[in-house]
Each structure stands twice: as C-alpha cells, then as structure tokens.
C-alpha cells in the first residue's frame, strides 16, 4: 500500500475543498429528514397549501415505520444514486483528461493505492452520507411513526451498504476504464437502468446485486428468504472486489491516455 496515505490525504483535501464532503451527505440527510416529515404532515400540508374545495376529505393510509424507511431508500435509489454516479464519474477520468494525473503517474506510486485512495474517499462520503441520512430518517420515523426493530434495522442498513459498495465500485471502475462522459453513461446504465430491468424482468431470478435494496426492505419487514439473499450478498461482494481490481488494472493501463 505504498503512498496510500499521501494519496488519500490528497483525495480528502480535494473533496473538502470542492465541498463534496458537505453537499453529498446533505442530499442524503435532506431526503432522510423530509421523507418521514412529509408523510406525517401531508394532511396538514395539503390543507394549508393544497387549495382544495371546502369539505374535501382525503383518506391517507396508515404507514408503518418500516414503510417510511423504505420510502427513504426509494428516494436514495433514484436521486441519491444519480448524485453518486454523476458526482464521481470523473474521479479518475477527469484527472487523466486535464493532465493533473500526469504529475502523479510519474511518481513511484502503486496504481492500486491510487484507486484505493479514491475508493476510500467515496466510501466515506457516500456510505457515511447515507448512514447519516438513514439515521436521521430513523430518528424522525421513531418519533412520528413508532419504533423499528433494531436488529432488523441493522440488517437492513448492512444490506444497503453492500449495495452502495457495489454502486461505488461500478462508478470507480467506469472512471478508470473510460472517459468522464462514457463513465457517467455506463454508471447510470448499470446502476439505474439495470435496476429497472431487474425490477421488470427480475421475477425470473432471485439472485442479483440489483435486488439488494429490495432484500434490505424485506429484512426490515422480517419476511425474507435467506438463501437468495446470502447468494446475492456474496455475488455483490465478489463483483465489487472484481470491479475494484479492474479499476486498478485500467488505471494503470490508461496511464498513456493522460494528457502530457
């Protein structure tokens, strides 16, 4: 892991100075807070700003705390994942294109340290941000809708973190292998579109990394099938390791594409 700590220091400083360390967790925090609050106060919100005819009556379903947490996750799955894919698609590719990477590549650095320093900063920002957001959501859900089984919650959180690691690996791999534009497209396709395809056609299979957010919800509700879940987790972790190793390989292979 030669030079890893210096490279991580550089990544950290970059993300502090471009405020990613702040705004990405803030996005997750806002969604985390807004979901239970909006659901709880929706009748009052509609009554005050909805401009409804007098006497209109809405029947709102009773939502369980688990459903509120799942609703938070579904926000993360669209907007949150879009923020992650587009926010980090250039993490390697942009450095290469601008030429700033050239002065790193001529040092005796290990490309795996280089990629891992970026991986660690992405994990810290994205997974850290999501944990903060989900904890905020849990807090308000607990106050407004009731308690969630803590064991189930940690199972749910752990499963969702495995999914996030997979997403981060896809983005990192794409950025190492392609240009920023292509990396963004590939990441969006493999994170967002693949989820839709898995949701549409996924009844034919039960083992898939893209099913992890669904399994996370099932764990929270306490009704899930252990075998496909364990297989999905294993495949996700293996795929993430392969993607991270691939990112190291392509980072080294594409050194010649750095602007000189």
């Amino acid at each position: 892991m030669s030079n890893f700590s210096f490279l991580f220091q550089k990544e950290w400083r970059e993300n502090v100075r471009n405020f990613k360390i702040l705004w990405i967790p803030l996005v997750f925090l806002l969604f985390g807070i807004s979901e239970p609050l909006t659901n709880y106060y929706l009748p009052q919100i509609l009554a005050s700003v909805g401009n409804m005819p007098e006497g209109t009556v809405f029947q709102f379903p009773e939502l369980s705390p688990e459903q509120i947490l799942m609703s938070t996750i579904s926000q993360y799955q669209l907007i949150g994942m879009l923020v992650v894919t587009l926010g980090f698609a250039g993490i390697i590719a942009r450095e290469r294109k601008s030429g700033t990477a050239t002065l790193l590549y001529v040092r005796p650095i290990s490309y795996f340290s280089y990629v891992n320093s970026k991986l660690l900063v992405m994990i810290t920002i994205v997974i850290g941000g999501v944990i903060v957001g989900i904890l905020a959501s849990l807090y308000y859900t607990n106050i407004l809708f009731g308690a969630v089984d803590i064991g189930a919650f940690f199972g749910f959180l752990g499963t969702y973190i495995a999914w996030l690691l997979f997403v981060i690996s896809i983005v990192l791999f794409s950025s190492a292998a392609f240009t920023t534009g292509i990396a963004s497209t590939v990441s969006v396709v493999f994170v967002l579109f693949a989820q839709i395809i898995d949701a549409l056609l996924g009844t034919y299979w039960t083992i898939s990394p893209w099913k992890l957010p669904m399994y996370a919800g099932q764990i929270l509700n306490g009704n899930f099938d252990m075998t496909p879940f364990v297989w999905s987790i294993m495949i996700t972790l293996i795929a993430s390791i392969v993607l991270i190793a691939g990112a190291g390989y392509f980072a080294k292979r594409n050194v010649s594409k750095a602007k000189i």
Binding site: N3, F6, L7, Q9, K10, R13, E14, R17, N18, S98, G99, T100, T102, L103, L104, Y105, V106, R107, P108, I109, V255, S256, A258, K259, I260
Partner: protein, 300 residues
C-alpha cells in the same frame, strides 16, 4: 564518465505507425542532453517512455546499471504544459509530490519550501496554483520535478511557452542544476541547446538521425567557408573582385570556400600579400546549430 541511463532499440508503435523507431543512446552522469527535432519527431514520446507514462513496444531502458522495472523513483519529469490541482497551494502540491517521490515525510515540507525558494516561488508558496501565471506554473513544474533530487531530470520543451525573461530565468536555474543532475530535455529553441548542452540528439520521424557533442556535430557539419576580415567593406569588395575563387562579401568580411584543399590557403594568402589589402583576421566559419538542424532534418 559514468553512464546513468542506457536506452537500446527503443521503439514505440501505434498500429502501423512508429512514433519512435529503434533509438539507442546513453546519458552520462551530470551531463545535459538536448533532444532536437521538428514537431512530430518523437521527442515527447521518447521522454514519456522514460518517464514511465508510455510503455515501449520494444527495446530496453537501463538506469544506473540496473534494468529496473520502475525507474520512476530516479526521475523528475516536467511536461511541456504542466497541469496542477488548482485547489492546492504551491507548497501543498510540492510537499505532496515530494512525499509521493519518497522524500521522508518529516522532511517533505522543508524540502518543498527550499525548492520553491530555489525556483523563485518562495513568496507565492501559499497561493493556490489556480491563480498562477504561465511563468509561475513553469517554475512550479520545475520545482515538482526536482524536489526529490532525482538522478535524471526529463524536461519537455521547458521554456517554449515562456517570454524571453522567463526563458532566461529558467535556463539559469537549469544551468545551476546541471552540476548535480543529469538533464535530458527536448527543445526546438536552438539557442538554448547551444547554451546548455553536452550532447545533441537529433530526431526525425521517430529516428535518431544524428548524435554527438556540440563540437563533434559542428565538425561533422562544418561549413567549408573561411571568414577573412578586412579593415573596410571596400577592401573586402576589392578582394572579392580580384579573387579567382568562389568568394562573397558581407561588410568588411569576405567568405571564401575552401573545399578539399582547393584553393590552398597559401595561394590565397600569397594573392593577398601581392595586393595592398590589409587583412586583420582569418577564421573558419562555424555552422550555427540552426544550420545544422536544417541540414540534419532535411537530409535523407
């Protein structure tokens, strides 16, 4: 003199195109070598292979007697247009690259400060690199290349983007470095090469077409002209008039071509002795590097 680097048969192919074609040369320790050639000659490709940014298709690079796989520890590289992280200050950047190059972490800041002082950026060390002018960037580029005291300094057109004052300042810094560092630099500014070069390497279409010390190259491409200095332009004109040999005049100087000993210098001097012309000096006209460059790149 001890050899620092030896390249043998270095070739870089892009499909069927050969950007660098079977180049062999060596660099002696603490010498300065200029890679000269027109655009597209393969100068940057050669430097990039040495810097570890490109992998050669064939050939070997032996550094300091060892065929090491990673010679990046021993080199400092300055690209033609160095790009920096705009959100870092000059000191933060130089300290970071010092650490990445193997400088003891505790010493990295001190070394970075000393190096920035050396390149004249001492007062701007805490400014973000995004605010730097072209000249300052070039100085910072030099600082990052030398902060770890590399054995070999590779510079790609180090002064081509600078104004004459900036160029002079960077050249002076390089001359100072020359005492303890081996320098290989590409240039098309031939005055610079003339000023600071122990060895010249001429590249054309990826091939090494000429190499040698400044003296060797000058001798090889020596002009068969002799310059004869007279006391006035009129006298030089009279000599050209009376000369039976190919002769031309520029002010008080007459140029006479003596090739393969014809005419003999004695004959010329005898002719002069029989005239009333007063000759003050005779010297061989040396070819300028520009003339040599044109001859080398146009031959073949």
């Amino acid at each position: 003199m001890k050899t620092l680097l030896y390249m043998q048969g270095l070739t870089k192919e892009y499909g069927k195109e050969k950007a660098v074609d079977n180049i062999t040369f060596s660099l002696n320790k603490n010498t300065s070598t200029a890679l000269i050639g027109p655009n597209g000659a393969g100068k940057t490709t050669t430097l990039s292979m040495l810097a570890g940014l490109l992998k050669q298709t064939t050939g070997s690079i032996v550094m300091d007697g060892e065929d090491t796989k990673d010679i990046r520890k021993m080199i400092g590289f300055l690209p033609q247009y160095p790009q920096f992280y705009t959100w870092l200050t000059a000191l933060e950047f130089t300290e970071m690259v010092a650490k990445l190059s193997g400088v003891e972490p505790k010493m990295a800041k001190l070394e970075a400060e000393k190096t920035l002082e050396f390149v004249g950026l001492g007062s701007a060390k805490n400014k973000k690199t995004g605010t730097f002018s072209g000249g300052m960037k070039q100085r910072l580029g030099l600082a990052q290349a030398i902060v770890h005291k590399p054995a070999l300094l590779l510079l790609d057109e180090p002064v081509s983007a600078l104004d004459p004052i900036g160029r002079r300042e960077i050249m002076n810094l390089l001359k100072e470095l020359q005492a303890n560092t081996t320098i290989l630099y590409s240039t098309h500014i031939l005055n610079d090469a003339e000023e600071m070069t122990d060895q010249l390497l001429f590249l054309r279409k990826g091939k090494l077409v000429e190499q040698g010390s400044m003296r060797e190259v000058r001798e090889k491409y020596a002009n068969p002209l002799y310059k004869m200095y007279f006391s006035s332009s009129e006298e030089a004109a009279l000599f050209v008039e009376m000369s039976p040999w190919p002769t031309r005049q520029e002010g008080p100087v007459a140029f006479i071509s003596i090739e393969d000993g014809k005419p003999k210098m004695q004959e010329v001097l005898l002719k002069l002795a029989n005239s009333n012309l007063s000759l003050s000096k005779v010297e061989r006209a040396t070819a300028s590097l520009e003339e040599i460059f044109l001859q080398v790149v146009n031959k073949g």
